[in-house]
Symmetry: D2
Subunit: 187 residues, 4 copies
């Protein structure tokens, strides 16, 4: 069976972001058969339909879309801001979900998982609800799962932002096992 | 009674945006007693908590926050993308809703209305649902209203993007009357 | 200033329900100036538009609507089921929000607060999001608040289902103070 | 290939319900390879965890759960009330999604489609958003689709509540083709 290639997108640009750290932990925990790589969105500019035209899109946008198109699945790892999806992440998804260059949406039909970490007690529960509806709106195939919500991230990551909590690491590993099975349904 | 000053924020950067056009129509329809002005977000960069620090915020962000703080209410006029809030708008709200410079969130406690236009049949219904939760998350006071959802905008605006449909214009005027009453409760 | 009369509705029929217990705790904590009373929904039958007609509604429904109409505000205290609003609560709201007997909706324009308790870690966060949209759909005036989400209720209530956790009790008291101020805006 | 057995649940008890009519139309349009049958919920009582115990559940509930368990997929056909899921439907789902009799949830892992009709312009868009989150909360596999929202149902069904609009009928047929393909992924 070939490797399932998953691209992971973190919803925060902050250097010390717990969600970027959670994505790095997921990359370490990825099960045999899954290749998980971070897809950065730092250089994706604000969406503007006036330049969302073949030949006019920013290079960073074309690169983002090609990498998603080439992947077998997507993992979104995001904080919540004001109970919603961070604008930074939604903006990248707004670009990524559009048709172009004679091809359909890179997101449509693609399997997707959603996880997140917060410093407080919510674990990004509310933001994940909105993100679920967004990926459904993009016609992605949402991995059905109770959810990886990581509250009180400050207690679970060490000073080097490595996931030091064994229980969370184990849970994350099982989640990725399940996600791999889900992605394989769509090959 | 003093004028109620409302700032209107459009959720699209596109020049020919029907939502910018809807905001301009609202500015024309604003009832006596209400001053409605557009607050542009074109120059608000992607949110990054590393620079969301007193003395480090981009000028455009500080300006956005001061103008919201000085206003009596906010009107959000937005398309929906993939059933959610455009990243461009959410990104501006992410900046605007944060504390800073020794002051609380400019959004908290502020009355807010939500309207939107679409070229298709949805009229931005689904995106407005997510936006309602975001403004609730920002502790804003949401104007209770059945909603201004303007589907098939192409039939209601003329070539100069002026709202030419009388029924929509009348409905918009009544909505703004109601919003004015709502804002006055919070003075 | 007259007493603000609030009716509280619990979203669970279970005898040992933590949410009924949370409503009882709220009744005990109600600040001076607020009268908070439970409005039971045990006897409200399944909604059927064929009998939602003047002269045909079940007695329990007419009573429910009259008590809400007479109140100055509503407090909803509910578990979440499958990330949503319990059918039992939504069903009562479906009846309560309809026009009838020559009068408008008893819910429209009424101020409302939402709180909830869970045995797990969510504290009903996700269900509250859906409930916020439902009360907005009913044109109620949602009290803007970060939310009373009471996770791990088993640790906070004693064997007699009394709220024994002082911090939660204090938080609840402050919430009700705020709700009272909100309700008074609409008198 | 064996027949895919789908159970359809309508979210309204009203005799003249357009959603029951839409479900009947779907039954007529079901493609070769799909058996679609209505699963009535009229006799499912209000959920009460005190009787959601092996040996204590109402007969109608046990029957509902067994029929869902035996099915290969579920089709939910529902109006929206106050932008949310009708209590009547959510109540049936609350029962159906629980473990019991030594078995897991009948809903978990099951593929599901969501459609709906309204007399007004919304076509149940907002209610479908909440229902999507509920089925995700039940760990169902949501069929990714732009949605069957049938606005202005009064113009599309005749006096005998038969779907008379050819375009809607054709769209519905294509939707069911897609749903069949989705269900087959999970056999």
């Amino acid at each position: 069976m070939p490797q399932a290639r998953i691209v992971g997108i973190a919803g925060s640009l902050r250097k010390g972001s717990y969600n970027r750290a959670l994505l790095r932990a997921a990359i370490e925990c990825a099960p045999e058969g899954m290749t998980l790589e971070e897809l950065p969105i730092d250089d994706v500019p604000l969406y503007n339909a006036d330049i969302d035209i073949d030949g006019s899109r920013p290079v960073a946008v074309e690169r983002l879309k090609e990498r998603i198109r080439a992947a077998d699945g997507v993992l979104l790892v995001s904080p919540e801001y004001s109970h919603g999806v961070p604008g930074v992440l939604k903006n990248a998804l707004d670009w990524a979900s559009r048709k172009g260059n004679g091809k359909g949406s890179p997101m449509a039909g693609k399997p997707v998982g959603i996880i997140g970490a917060s410093t407080g007690g919510s674990g990004t529960m509310r933001g994940q609800e909105q993100l679920k509806l967004v990926v459904a709106g993009m016609l992605m195939a949402l991995f059905p799962h109770g959810g990886v919500v990581v509250p009180r991230a400050g207690d679970r990551f060490d000073d080097q932002l490595r996931l030091s909590d064994d229980k969370t690491r184990e849970f994350l590993g099982k989640y990725l096992d399940g996600l791999l099975g889900w992605v394989r349904r769509f090959e």
